[in-house]
């Protein structure tokens, strides 16, 4: 995997944003979600838990990606 330290802050910010999105999905019903969120539905009391889990997992993977980027770099394969 190619290492690019410039991507570390991007991955961390994206990870934080996605975890916030996950919390919004867990806490708010479909009607209370911002209209630009997938799953927003006026008048619905349904909680999109699966959307929240998906956002949480991708957010955590952003942190994992950032973690790998901090690792030791090695010479490119011959």
């Amino acid at each position: 995997m190619t290492k690019n330290p410039k991507l570390i802050p991007v991955a961390i910010v994206l990870g934080i944003v996605l975890i916030v999105v996950a919390i919004v999905y867990f806490v708010d019903s479909a009607s209370a979600l911002p209209s630009f969120f997938p799953g927003h539905q006026a008048g619905s009391s349904h909680h999109h838990t699966k959307h929240g889990i998906a956002a949480l997992i991708v957010g955590l993977l952003c942190f994992v990606f950032a973690w790998f980027q901090t690792g030791p770099s090695r010479p490119a394969d011959a």
Partner: protein, 291 residues
């Protein structure tokens, strides 16, 4: 007189078929939609009780797949842990690389599934559309064999299969094959067919592609079933739990033998017979439904 929404005999038959059709590249969901219609059963894909029943059979399939490859999963999980500790995937760490290939392949399929599953299920709910997509699936299987990156070689069944997979599949290809799995949300299109075909396109042998497909299928089938488990335990599961248990046991049993058979079969054989079966079965069912 009280009637269960699914009888024990129906559950047994659906479970046996699900267990075979999930690992075989012939679409378990497609067969689950077509079979009740062919047999004149009052079971439809979007019936709440049927969806709940499917949770149990899919969970059984995922559990059997997991335990079938338990030793591999233990190595893969250890590899993932090692790479996290070292903050890199070691140059020769096959288990770590294979593990992350499975992770990046699972994420796009999971995301697409979460976002599109309900709408696709409603859009393609009929047995007629499942039969039509079964034909499409058959054509795809034949095309995968035609467009495969390399022809089968005599020594394909030998050597370290995980090393072959880890060294052949790139990150982008893993994401592509993983995302393509989402096509299996349409009844008639086979998840294992798509992943095996994707494996052939990127240069794997039939056996390695099948192995990669089974490993890739386990977390996504398991996660989808676990997420819906509350439906089976809640009020939606009333009247279905007994037949669901029978269906799950039947599915688990046939999944085990189907995977065992396929890994042996693909040592020397190809996807072609499954493609022909899907085209023939899809065509016959389409004609029956049209008459």
């Amino acid at each position: 007189m009280h009637h269960d929404p699914i009888s024990y005999v129906q559950a047994l038959i659906l479970g046996l078929v699900q267990g075979v059709a999930e690992p075989f590249p012939i679409s378990s969901l497609g067969h689950g939609v077509i079979l009740p219609r062919l047999l004149g059963w009052n079971i439809h894909q979007n019936d709440k009780f049927f969806l709940t029943f499917l949770v149990a059979t899919h969970l059984a399939t995922a559990i059997v797949l997991f335990f079938f490859f338990l030793r591999d999963w233990m190595r893969i999980l250890a590899g993932l842990g090692r790479s996290l500790r070292d903050r890199e995937i070691g140059r020769n760490d096959v288990d770590a690389r294979l593990g992350w290939l499975l992770v990046v392949g699972t994420i796009p399929a999971g995301l697409i599934g979460v976002l599109l599953e309900d709408s696709l299920r409603k859009l393609f709910a009929s047995a007629a559309s499942a039969a039509a997509f079964l034909i499409v699936n058959g054509v795809l299987l034949l095309l995968f064999e035609r467009w495969r990156k390399r022809a089968p070689r005599p020594g394909d069944a030998l050597g370290d299969h995980d090393r072959h997979i880890a060294e052949t599949v790139s990150w982008r290809q893993a994401i592509g094959v993983g995302a393509a799995q989402a096509a299996a949300l349409v009844p008639g299109i086979s998840r294992s067919g798509i992943t095996m075909g994707g494996g052939l396109l990127v240069g794997l042998s039939n056996e390695d592609a099948a192995r990669y497909g089974f490993l890739l299928a386990t977390p996504i089938i398991g996660a989808a079933a676990v997420l819906k488990l509350p439906d089976l335990m809640g009020s939606a599961g009333n009247g279905v739990r007994g037949p669901a248990l029978v269906g799950a046991l039947a599915a688990g049993l046939t999944t085990y033998f189907a995977v065992k058979f396929l890994l042996k079969y693909f040592e020397t054989n190809r996807l072609t017979p499954f493609g022909i079966y899907c085209i023939a079965a899809g065509t016959i069912c389409t004609l029956i439904f049209a008459l």
